[in-house]
Structures are given as structure tokens and as C-alpha cells.
């Protein structure tokens, strides 16, 4: 080996030291975060399902008997945060409605129609990256609802990747709610 070949070799090693910078310190914007459950609103118009606005629905998160928060959605879906310290999250779905006298159209009574939406899952602490830290993901996700009040029907779906029943992203649709259009 030639003596002069020390210099490029030394430079090569030096280069490897310089290029090994702290890339692990930056957490990209689009990194994984704890997902929320996305629920879409539909209605059935002449036997055909159609995305609908659900802004008249109100969602109350329930922790035991206490309602924790209220969220009024706009648009055809809502993303509901889940309680990752428990294995289920319950939401009260409320719709204000008025009962009118069929004869004269006068409002007789203002009532609240309500249903319960239940998410059951296994929260899992998931490592994202060195810079981003951790988030929770949910396994074995199931959705149940009492119907007949504000909710006319429910289709629980998690069709997004990577597998059925696994919630990894807020973009995944967890459930479709069919709103009663009786009134």
C-alpha cells in the first residue's frame, strides 16, 4: 500500500464521521400520532346511501356518569378521541328534535333523542421514532351502538391498512352512522 493513500483514507473516515449527523433528532410533521376514531355520517335517500351533514348531532364523551366534553361536528364526519387509559370509550349521541302537532304544525314538545356509541379496543403503546417518541394505537377495535334515537343504523368498519380491527391513523373510518330522518 502506497504511503500517500493515507490521506484519502483519513478523509474517507472523517467524511463518515461528519455525515453521521443527528438525523434522529428531527420528528417529521407527518409522523404517526395517537389516532382518533373517525365516524362518518350517512343517510338513506330512496334506498341509496349518501354522505350527510351531521352538524346537528352532539357527542358527549362519557366517563362513568359524568359527561366529559361536547363536540359539535361540521361536515360529514367527526373524529372522536379515545380514552387510551381504558379499554373502552363511550359517547352519547344527542339530537335535538321537536314534536309538532300534525294538524296545525305547532311545536308541542322539544325533546332530545339520544344513543350510545361504544368503542372497545386494546390500547397499545407504540414506538414511533427516537425523535417523535411514542403514541397509542388500538387493536381489536369494535364499535357498538344503541339505535333508534338519533342513530338510525350503524355499520362498524375498519377497512384501512394494515389489518381489520386495527386503528393506526385518524384517516381510517371506524364507523358509519345512519342518521334517522324521521322528522
Amino acid at each position: 500500500m502506497n504511503k500517500k493513500s493515507y490521506i484519502p483514507l483519513a478523509l474517507l473516515i472523517l467524511m463518515s464521521f461528519i455525515t453521521s449527523c443527528e438525523r434522529d433528532d428531527i420528528c417529521p410533521e407527518n409522523s404517526m400520532t395517537t389516532p382518533s376514531a373517525r365516524v362518518e355520517f350517512y343517510t338513506t335517500v330512496t334506498g341509496r346511501e349518501e354522505a350527510t351533514d351531521g352538524s346537528h348531532l352532539m357527542f358527549y364523551g362519557m366517563m362513568g356518569d359524568d359527561t366529559l366534553f361536547r363536540k359539535a361536528p361540521g361536515g360529514n364526519y367527526i373524529t372522536l378521541p379515545l380514552d387510551f387509559e381504558k379499554e373502552e370509550s363511550l359517547f352519547l349521541v344527542v339530537k335535538d328534535t321537536v314534536i309538532k302537532d300534525p294538524a296545525n304544525g305547532m311545536v308541542i314538545e322539544k325533546i332530545k333523542l339520544q344513543d350510545t356509541l361504544t368503542f372497545k379496543y386494546e390500547p397499545q403503546l407504540t414506538f414511533v421514532s427516537k425523535a417523535c417518541g411514542y403514541c397509542f394505537t388500538y387493536k381489536s377495535m369494535t364499535v357498538e351502538a344503541t339505535t333508534g334515537g338519533s342513530i338510525g343504523g350503524l355499520v362498524a368498519v375498519i377497512e384501512g391498512e394494515p389489518s381489520y380491527g386495527e386503528l393506526l391513523s385518524s384517516r381510517q373510518t371506524v364507523a358509519k352512522i345512519y342518521i334517522n330522518k324521521k322528522d
Binding site: 483519513a10 472523517l14 428531527i26 420528528c27 366517563m63 414506538f127 427516537k130 417518541g133 397509542f136
Partner: protein, 310 residues
């Protein structure tokens, strides 16, 4: 905090750079010195040989030069074998540079098997922490590296200075603590503080390049830089290697860079004669080169002027 780290990194890199520059210079100077000594010796020998030739009555100069430059390709060489034990000076220096309570040491050993091949074994301990943006980690444990070093430099047989490449397999099973990240969901009042204690394992390949110089009888200074590649790692939480003893910080779960600067002592054990194939550059004598040139010079039979005259 961030700024200080950058300064530390800069300081480390500067040290690396300077030592990388200095060590080859030392070797180069030493080799140059040896070369001139060697040249002097061989010239003296040539003079003595030619005198002897003249005395014997051999007048042909070319004959005498041919006899002097016989290339021997097979040679018997006596080589000292010994166990070299070294202490890494760089690893304990890192915490001092970083100004934290990290602890680390490393012992490097090698044993000469053949003139060019060394069996190498390193053992060490590291207790190092690293502050990532969202979380902190601390890894502590022993590590082991075993493999070979192969000398690259020619002329290593008479001097023990060498430049070498090393290929080793490293293993470490260490205690890891990860903490600092807090996950919150304000609407549900959730607050989970991440605090993980586990005992992961890592197996890695270590490709190194280094130089070693003898500074005193049986005392050596060596420096090497290694590229580490994680071959296999196990941990129950699926986090992957973050800091591995013997590797340091692991980038993108696979790559690490380690560095060592060691002072070693060789315990001489035995000397053994090896049959070696040596490639020697045939150095042509100045006189033969000049005679060759003279031969090659073109001398026309006629000068142009003479042709015109005719």
C-alpha cells in the same frame, strides 16, 4: 443544551480529524527514516561489492550490477509473536468531553497468528445516556468484540508499525431505560408517562480501519475508526437499538460509528520463522538505465546536409 451538544460534537470530530492526520504523519516520517537508512546500507554494500568484483578481475560493470540486484521472492523471516493488551483512551474521554456522568472503558487485545493476520478481542463497558428531543435513554452493559485484524502495509516484517483493516463481530446484552415522553389526551384527562426498562441484545458487524505505531520497545499507539452494522437485535418493545454499548448511538436502527485511540503493551511470547513470499520492486541501477537510453537514441546514418551535397 442543543448548542452545547453541537460544540461537543465539533470538539470530538476535531480531535478525530487531528489524530487521523497526525498518526499517518508519524508513520510516514518513521518509514522515510528507515528508507534512507536502508538506502545508505544498500549503497555501501554496492560499493563494497563492486570493489570486490574489481579485485577479482571482473571488469564488466553490467555483470556486477546484475549480481547485486537479485530479487528474492521467497524468504524466511523471523517474527515476534506476542499478546498485545491495550487500554482505550478515547472511550473514557467521551464523558469528560460531554460533561455528563457517563462511564466507559475498553480493553483491546490482539494476538499475531501469521505475519499479517492478528486475532483480535475487545472487551468493554459503557454506561451512556442520550437526550433525544422527546425522550431520553440510558444504556449500560458489557460488550465483546471478536475477530481479526489484517495488516495492509508492506515492510511490516522488520518494523511493527502497521495499517490494518479489522473485521469483528460484536455482542452486547445491556440494560436500557427509556423515559421522558408523556402522552396526553386532555379531553379524557389521560396522561401516560413513558418509562420503559428492558434488557435488549444486539449483535453487530464491525468493520474497522486503523493504524498502529511502535513508540517504545513493546509499546504501541493505535487508532481505529469502525463502521458498525447491527445484524440482529432483540427487544420486547419493538423499539430497536438506540444506544448500544460498544457502538454508541445507532442511526436508523442499523448504523453506528465507533472510534478508539489505544495505548498497548505487547507481551512477547515467542519468535517463529515464517516462509514468506515477498514482492520486491526491481530497482534498476542508474548506469544500466543510462546505457539503455543511449542504445535507444536514434543516430541517422546520413546527415541531411551530406545527402544534398551528393
Amino acid at each position: 443544551m442543543k448548542k452545547r451538544e453541537t460544540y461537543i460534537h465539533l470538539a470530538i470530530r476535531l480531535t478525530v480529524f487531528l489524530s487521523l492526520l497526525i498518526t499517518p504523519m508519524v508513520i510516514y516520517a518513521q518509514e522515510k527514516k528507515e528508507d534512507t537508512e536502508h538506502n545508505l546500507k544498500s549503497r555501501k554494500k554496492e560499493v563494497a561489492d563492486s570493489i570486490r568484483m574489481v579485485e577479482r578481475g571482473m571488469k564488466s560493470e553490467r555483470d556486477s550490477t546484475n549480481k547485486v540486484h537479485v530479487v528474492k521472492r521467497d524468504s524466511l523471516i523471523e517474527i515476534k509473536h506476542g499478546l498485545r493488551i491495550g487500554v482505550d483512551l478515547f472511550t473514557p474521554l467521551l464523558p469528560i468531553l460531554g460533561g455528563n456522568d457517563d462511564k466507559a472503558w475498553q480493553i483491546k487485545t490482539d494476538f499475531r497468528i501469521t505475519p499479517k493476520l492478528y486475532a483480535a478481542f475487545d472487551v468493554g463497558y459503557q454506561d451512556r445516556s442520550k437526550d433525544f428531543m422527546m425522550q431520553q435513554t440510558r444504556s449500560k452493559g458489557m460488550f465483546f468484540k471478536a475477530g481479526v485484524n489484517y495488516a495492509l502495509l508492506r515492510g511490516i516484517f522488520d518494523s511493527d508499525d502497521m495499517m490494518y483493516v479489522g473485521l469483528k463481530l460484536g455482542y452486547s446484552s445491556y440494560d436500557r431505560h427509556i423515559w421522558g415522553d408523556t402522552l396526553r389526551e386532555p379531553q379524557w384527562g389521560n396522561e401516560v408517562i413513558v418509562d420503559i426498562n428492558d434488557k435488549p441484545m444486539a449483535l453487530w458487524g464491525d468493520l474497522s480501519i486503523g493504524v498502529m505505531v511502535q513508540v517504545a520497545r513493546n509499546v504501541y499507539l493505535s487508532m481505529d475508526a469502525a463502521y458498525d452494522m447491527i445484524l440482529s437485535s432483540s427487544d420486547s418493545n419493538g423499539i430497536g437499538p438506540m444506544m448500544v454499548p460498544g457502538v454508541g448511538q445507532v442511526y436508523s436502527n442499523t448504523t453506528g460509528f465507533s472510534f478508539s485511540y489505544a495505548v498497548s503493551y505487547r507481551i512477547p511470547l515467542y519468535t517463529k520463522t515464517h516462509r514468506m513470499k515477498i514482492k520486491e520492486h526491481i530497482r534498476e541501477d542508474q548506469e544500466t538505465i543510462s546505457t539503455k537510453k543511449k542504445k535507444e537514441e536514434f543516430t541517422p546514418a546520413f546527415q541531411t546536409s551530406t545527402l544534398i551535397e551528393e
